[in-house]
Structure formats: structure tokens, C-alpha cells
């Protein structure tokens, strides 16, 4: 059979954004697109201007170079754009690169562009790939919309109906199957995902399918199986970065911190510009007492994540803590002041940046300053205790007790326990703090009271709902949620009550949103929680605001 020549595409109604640091290359891309009638072509020569253009306009197609010289690269722009919802559901993102790079394989649905183009870019290459991807995204747009609404079950249904019209074992069929597996994973339905991954592996040794299988093992607690699959991917090849990250996570959980550290270091030699991987390396090294390595990793994480949505308070706090342990209080203070600058619009981060000066000042013998700070911040700390990360709280309460501010320390620890009442590790750590301060019995009573208060609320909620007093139950859990915003069990109970209410009285947009928010947060706090996916299913069965026909 002779091969057909494809007709040239018509891009006269398509809007383009070209992100490329090299003017010559921009001109070439522009010229090629113009030959297909393209009239709306915007251009950016660096990441910042690309982001600000994406903020203003929803482009149909983004052609983005992966390497943009210094600073953020194409992958960073894509992730930020997806994270902030700057892309239209039908938008096509083609990543342009000089070569096939490690960043291009595996990765998640959120991190993958629609396709990669390897230079040199020719007219045939560009027209063919663009036409294919535009057609594909047009078909997939409803699925994308459902995903953005976190309606994974609907997205799954849409994917299934797409698959009906497609010949099995064609590339498109496998694109859809892979998408379906990822959606099933996102909605906590491991069964169908597992079936797809196993089918793929029966055809070929495909890294993405093996990685998917490993994630299922990990989420279901079979850490040894997860480790075996992940090692199969990473052994002999350090290009599969995401598999390295999951292997490190698995080893970490298995208690092999040394192994986790070396896996992360290996992945970082392939791709050092990964703030979350640097953060993880810092945490692992810190736990192993390798302060120098940990400090370097936290520092890189901070620098790479600055001005991106990936920045975290953890990196700053841990780095400042390490500086202090290394007898470098000046550097510790500097890091804290960087935290308050870099995350100025995050009130909890600003509060921590100030509060964590207290241990530093104590160490330098500036008791007066430490005491003043503690006094100044006491009320705010008590009021915002539930929003502070437990690690920071544990580092803060010891100096507070040393300064004699028992009331604030009590409030902080009680809040950690309320938020994590079914988390024995935190209970032990909190008890250890009191024991060390010579307040063993008093501490035990206080902590037990905090844990009991949380359990009582749960029980009262259940009782009220059994008695059919749903409104009262919702009122109770809603108030409790404000005090314990990170208590996964409470969040799910609250979502359960909201859903039960809507099942009885009909759907309400605000309640729907509240319930979904609770479930999403609970899943983030406790991945692999079965109840979360059950509730998500019930919530989706209530319908959505934006029904569209298939």
C-alpha cells in the first residue's frame, strides 16, 4: 500500500503561544505556522513572560522549548500552568527539546505534555503532530473537564465510552487505556487500573505500566512488592525519575533511609532541578544525621521552588534548624527571614518565621529577645495552632516550656493531638516533650484529654446522625473542623454527613463543594483511604453543576 500524503492543516482559527529563548528558532516556528494560515501567534522568550501571557489568554496550542537557559524550564511552566488552571481543556501543549530527555518518560497525567517534538522541527513533523494532538484533545476535552472538577468516576465513564468506538491495540486505544488507569488510580479504584497495567506488561516491559503497578502495591501497603517492581525499573537505568522517587519513598517507609538517600541522589544526578526531590533528599539526610548533605538539599529545594507553587515552609524550617544545630545562628535567622519574604502571603509561614527565632535566640543566649518574642506571639500561636505543621510545633514547644510559657505549649500540643488523634507517633513525641520538661503526669492528662475530645466529637456526630438529626450533626462537625482542619477522620465524617443530607434533601452546590473539599484534603492527608473513594462515588452520584452530554 502506498503511503498517502496528508493534506496541509488549516490553522487560521487556532491561537498559538511560542515559548522559546532563541529568536532564530521562534522565527522558524512562526514561519512554519504561518504557512498553515496561522494568524494568532504570541511569543514569549522566557518563563516569566510565558506565565503572564498564559494568565491573560487561553491559547489553543502552546509550543514550548524544554530548556530555556537559566531559571525555570518548560516543564516548570507546564506544571505551574496546569496547577493554576491557566490552560483551556482542549489546549495542546507540545514540548520542544533537542533530545529525548529523562523528563519525558513516565511522569503523571498532570506533568506530561501532550507530545514531545525533537529538534530539528520541520514542517512535516510540526503539522502532523499538531493535527493529531488537536484532534485528540478535542475528543478528550470533556474528560479533561471532568478531571478538573475532580469527578473521576464521570471521567472514567467518558473514557469507557470513548474506547468503545476504537479498535483495540491501536496507539489511541492504549493512550485511552493509560488515561483510564490513571483516572482509576485517582478515584481510588485500584482494580481496573491494575488490570490495565498487567495487560500492558504482558505485551512489553513498559516502565509506566510497571510504575503503575508499584504505586498500587505501595498504596495497598505491600511495600516489598512495590520495592521489587520499582527496582526492576530503576536497576541499570537512572532515566526513570519518577520510579526513583517512588522507590525512595518506599525504602523510606521500609526503614531503609540509607537506601532512600542513595536512590534520590542518583535521580538528582540525572535531573538536579527538582525542588520536591531535593526536599525529600534533605528530609532523608536530616533523619540520618547527615547535616551537611541535608542543608545542601534543603538550600537547593528553596532556590528551585522560589517563585513557584512548589515552595514549602518545611524546607526553610528544616534548614534553619540544621544551621542552628551546626552552631550557625546567623544563618538560621537568615533562612527564617527568607521564609517570611518568600512566603509573605502565607500567614502561617510568616508566623513560623517569627516564632522559630525563639529557639535561635535561646541558643545565642539572648533570653530577653526570646522571651519578648514568645510573649508577642503567644496569642497568635494559640489562635493559629491548628494550621501549624506538627514538626514545627515539636521544635517550638521545647523552648517555650524552657521560657515557662506552658499555656502556649499546651495549646500547640493539644492542637497537634486533636488534628492527629489516631496517630500514635505524635502522641509519643508529645508525651516525650512533657516528660523531658519534668511534666510527665500533667502532660499525659492533657494529651489524653485532647485525644478524647476529638473522639467524643466523632462519636457525638455519629450518634446525632443515627438519631436522624443531620443538621445538628453537620453543625457539630463543621465547628470541630475549624479546630481540627487536618484530622482526616473528622473530614471524612463531615463529608459523610453532608452527602447524607444531600441524598435526603437534594443537591446543593455549596454543600457539594464543601464535601468534595473535605474528601480531597483527607485523601491528601491519608492516601489510600478506602472510605474517601466510597464517599467520592456517592458524591458524584448526586450529579454536578455542569452536565454535558456524551
Amino acid at each position: 500500500m502506498k503511503i498517502r500524503n496528508l493534506p496541509p492543516p488549516d490553522f487560521s482559527r487556532t491561537s498559538f503561544l511560542i515559548v522559546e529563548d532563541f529568536e532564530g528558532m521562534r522565527a522558524i516556528l512562526r514561519d512554519i505556522l504561518a504557512r498553515a494560515g496561522a494568524r494568532h501567534i504570541a511569543q514569549a522568550n522566557n518563563a516569566d513572560s510565558a506565565i503572564s501571557m498564559l494568565e491573560r489568554t487561553r491559547y489553543d496550542v502552546i509550543l514550548c522549548d524544554l530548556h530555556l537557559g537559566h531559571g525555570k524550564n518548560g516543564q516548570d511552566i507546564l506544571e505551574e500552568a496546569r496547577h493554576r488552571g491557566l490552560l483551556a481543556p482542549h489546549a495542546v501543549w507540545l514540548m520542544v527539546s533537542a533530545e529525548k530527555a529523562a523528563e519525558m518518560v513516565t511522569g503523571t497525567i498532570e506533568s506530561r505534555p501532550d507530545d514531545y517534538l525533537i529538534k530539528p522541527i520541520t514542517e512535516t513533523l510540526l503539522f502532523m503532530r499538531l493535527s493529531q494532538q488537536i484532534a485528540k484533545k478535542h475528543v478528550l476535552a470533556p474528560i479533561e473537564i471532568a478531571m478538573r472538577e475532580h469527578e473521576y468516576l464521570k471521567a472514567l465513564r467518558l473514557t469507557d465510552s470513548q474506547m468503545e468506538g476504537i479498535q483495540p491495540n491501536t496507539p489511541h486505544a492504549w493512550d485511552l487505556k493509560r488515561l483510564k488507569a490513571e483516572l482509576a488510580m485517582a478515584s481510588g479504584e485500584h482494580g481496573p487500573a491494575r488490570a490495565i497495567y498487567e495487560e500492558a506488561l504482558s505485551l512489553r516491559d513498559l516502565p509506566w505500566a510497571r510504575l503503575g503497578l508499584a504505586k498500587i502495591h505501595y498504596n495497598e501497603g505491600r511495600l516489598d512488592d512495590a520495592r521489587r517492581e520499582l527496582k526492576e525499573i530503576t536497576d541499570g537505568n537512572r532515566a526513570y525519575l519518577e520510579a526513583h522517587d517512588w522507590l525512595a519513598r518506599t525504602l523510606d517507609k521500609l526503614g531503609d533511609h540509607e537506601g532512600a538517600q542513595s536512590v534520590l541522589q542518583r535521580a538528582l544526578t540525572t535531573s538536579p532541578r527538582a525542588p520536591l526531590r531535593q526536599l525529600h533528599l534533605g528530609e532523608v539526610a536530616h533523619r540520618r544525621g547527615e547535616l551537611g548533605a541535608a542543608a545542601l538539599a534543603f538550600q537547593s529545594s528553596i532556590e528551585l521552588a522560589r517563585n513557584t507553587p512548589l515552595k514549602t515552609t518545611q524546607a526553610y524550617l528544616a534548614l534553619s534548624q540544621i544551621h542552628l544545630a551546626q552552631d550557625n545562628p546567623d544563618a538560621a535567622l537568615k533562612t527564617l527571614s527568607a521564609l517570611s519574604i518568600d512566603m509573605y502571603n502565607n500567614p502561617a509561614a510568616r508566623l513560623l518565621a517569627q516564632a522559630m527565632q525563639i529557639p535561635v535566640r535561646l541558643k545565642t543566649g539572648e533570653h530577653g529577645i526570646a522571651k519578648d518574642l514568645a510573649q508577642q506571639l503567644a496569642e497568635e500561636l494559640k489562635a493559629k495552632a491548628q494550621h501549624l505543621p506538627p514538626d514545627a510545633v515539636f521544635n517550638l514547644v521545647v523552648p517555650l516550656l524552657a521560657l515557662g510559657d506552658k499555656a502556649t505549649a499546651d495549646a500547640l500540643l493539644a492542637s497537634v493531638i486533636g488534628n492527629h488523634h489516631d496517630h500514635p507517633e505524635y502522641l509519643e513525641r508529645a508525651q516525650a516533650v512533657y516528660t523531658q520538661a519534668g511534666l510527665e503526669d500533667e502532660g499525659r492528662e492533657l494529651l489524653n484529654r485532647a485525644a478524647r475530645a476529638a473522639t467524643d466529637i466523632m462519636n457525638r456526630g455519629v450518634k446525632l446522625s443515627r438519631e436522624g438529626k443531620l443538621d445538628e450533626a453537620i453543625q457539630l462537625t463543621r465547628e470541630a473542623r475549624a479546630q481540627m482542619p487536618s484530622n482526616a477522620r473528622l473530614l471524612l465524617n463531615h463529608a459523610f454527613l453532608l452527602i447524607a443530607w444531600m441524598e435526603r434533601h437534594g443537591r446543593e452546590t455549596a454543600l457539594n463543594k464543601e464535601a468534595r473539599g473535605c474528601i480531597e484534603l483527607a485523601r491528601k492527608l491519608k492516601p489510600g483511604e478506602k472510605r474517601a473513594s466510597e464517599l467520592l462515588t456517592r458524591l458524584e452520584l448526586l450529579g454536578s453543576d455542569f452536565e454535558f452530554s456524551v
Binding site: 502506498k2 533530545e99 496507539p171 537512572r238
Partner: protein
Amino acid sequence: MPADKLDISTFLVSSIHDMKNSLGMMAAYLEDALAEPGSAPDPVDTQARRKTAQALYEVQRVNNHLVQLLALYKIDQAFYPFDPQGRPLADLAREALARAQPLADSKGIALDCECPEDLYGWIDYELVFGVVVQALHNALHYAKGRVLLSAAAQGSGMLIRVEDDGPGFPDFLLEQGNAAQRGISFETGCTGLGLYFADVVARLHKAGENTGCIRLENGGQLGGGCFSLELP
């Protein structure tokens, strides 16, 4: 860090990127020049056009070599992101033909392709594309008037062939059981890079017990050299 501690491979990789960027631009300019109005061979500028096409071919050749060196380096250092995906072979054929067409035109060689639209293979697209373009360039170099690229299903895998009507491969190449493993031949001035690359790429493709391979023959449909890439 003192200069003598820097790993030369860092420079190699980043310089190759840089060189590839320049070559990509050169290729685009030359393609533009060839696509100027009146693009059907015009007797007045035939000479200029031929030379432009020749220059384009040389640029692509250097580019191919850089791509192959970089891929081989990464495979050797265990960080090539090998990623087989289900792709239509017809797409690969179209892209490869587009790459080779200007040279074929300038040499007056008919470049044909036979490939079913519904043939799919689990391939690492970039690697297989590199092999096919290299084979096409080789064939165009030796062909008298015709080159044929074909792809067909073979068992559960596929067979990709590039054939020409030239004098065929010399005996010393055919005689070697696995020509690619000979490595560099200084006698013939042929670096062996292309064949070695093709062999490595073929062998990376596996399905169960089956592994890809390459073959060199003479004869085939056009009577000249015939390069085969079999993938499981």
C-alpha cells in the same frame, strides 16, 4: 571547583545540544530556500538548488551523527529514557520521508514508500526514527534512481526495509555475521557508527524472549542494497 575536576562529558553533552540547535536552524533555512516559489526544478537555478539540497543533506548527516552519539552515550551510561510506545509506522515513515525528500529530489532519485496505515508497533520512536533516516540517507547515497522504504507486519512484530537500486553492499560488510559489531573500520574510512547505532537500537527492543535485529543483504525488490530492521 577546579577546572581539571570538571567532567568532560558535561561539556560534550551541553555542546552537542548547542550544536544541534545551530544545525536545526541551518536545516530550517536551507529547507526554506528549497521551498521558495517555483519549487519545481527550474532549469535556471538547478545548480544552486542542487547545492542547497546537498548542503541540507550534509547538515542532516552531522545532526544524525550527533543524535546517535548522544543516544549511545546515554545508553552506555544507563540514562537513556527508553520508552516504547504504540505508534503508527505510517507517521514515522512520513516524517522520515520528509527528511530525505530534498536530497532525493536534488539527485533525481524516486523515493517511494509502502506502509499500511494501520500498522502499529511498540517502538521507541526517536531511536527507530534515527535508524530509518540514517538508512535512507545511505541508500540515497548509493542509489542510481530508486529508493524504497517499506514497513510490514511480521509475526507479532514488524519488518522495516530500506532498499535501493545501487551496486549493493560490499562483500566485506555482508560477510560479517553481525556487521555492526565490527566497530570502526579504518581501512574503509567508514566509522561504522550508523550500523552500530542501528544494532544497539534493534537490540533494545524486546518482547518476551524476542529481540530486534538488523540485516544487510543485496538484491531485494530493487536489486541493490537492502537494509532490514526487524522489531518484535
